[in-house]
Point group: C2
Chain length 149, copies 2
DNA sequence: ACATTTTAAGACACACTACTCTTAATTCTA
DNA sequence: TAGAATTAAGAGTAGTGTGTCTTAAAATGT
């Protein structure tokens, strides 16, 4: 699995928010139902995005979470890093402590290229772009399309 | 992390065996010391490779493990699959249950290409090739080069 | 002020990976 | 046959990710 479940959930929520008109507060309860994620667990994940200043939250009636930045300025990697910490992709495929440019392990060069491609994808794709690709799916809003059979 | 530690350990042991002259039994104790892996843990990992008929084992004095097949016929992916089960790379990056060719998620196409590249690397690289790349490192046998500072 | 709504924070349980150790089974050698 | 060497199998421990719940804190409205 490339990403942890926490990351997947955080990404889905971010893209969902990015795809909504206006930037009003949306309750985590509503997000959890739309995305088919446990409310309690999603709350924990979104707390990390709030701490990372990708989201902002507001308590009380009419509260919830919303994007703090423009969705075109939040990359896939931003969300992953906020949740999982610095990307764990940067290690040696064989787990050799000394592996690096100076001492490349037998897989180093190949794996470096693959890592670079993945990182590039994560850095170049914004949640705005993902939301755009996710719009207008047979009349179902956002991710409902994938989840409702 | 692309691979589990078990996989990394299994790969390192397989490549180490592939890089040895002759195909005599090598004790797991010796492998564990050469590769800086816990003996007990490596034993568990290599049991899976033995069950998968990548290695064969022999008990008693002068026993140990050795490659069952020709190292040129054992791929990186063979070892990973034997240890971790079928590659977990084949899922949707966002964990959407309905994602696929018919219902591509907003990352599906990009992630498919990256997955394919990784899988291709795993299928095309044999442990013989890895052992070859790993030979003749400043006079240190195999992985010792990376581990001894 | 008080009740309601909502997120924040902390505690808890479960599963899985990583790791350790003990005992059993097998094989060799003397 | 006895003892030593070696893998196999199983039990047990620790840490982490996932998931659940309870309580606290903040904001609203009456």
């Amino acid at each position: 699995m490339l990403l942890s479940k926490s990351c997947m959930y955080g990404l889905r929520a971010s893209v969902q928010l990015a795809g909504m008109k206006g930037n009003t507060y949306v309750t985590i309860r509503e997000l959890s139902e739309d995305l088919d994620i446990s409310f309690f667990f999603l709350t924990k994940v979104l707390q990390r995005l709030t701490q990372a200043e990708i989201l902002e939250s507001y308590k009380g009636p009419n509260g919830g979470v919303r994007l703090l930045k423009h969705p075109g300025e939040v990359t896939f990697l931003d969300v992953v890093t906020a949740i999982d910490g610095s990307c764990t992709l940067s290690e040696c495929a064989l787990g050799l402590p000394g592996c690096g440019v100076m001492k490349p392990c037998p897989l180093h060069d190949q794996w470096s290229i693959l890592k670079e491609n993945i990182l590039e994808m994560m850095q170049n794709v914004t949640i705005a772009e993902l939301a755009r690709r996710n719009s207008g799916k047979q009349g179902l809003d956002g991710f409902m399309y994938y989840l409702k059979i």
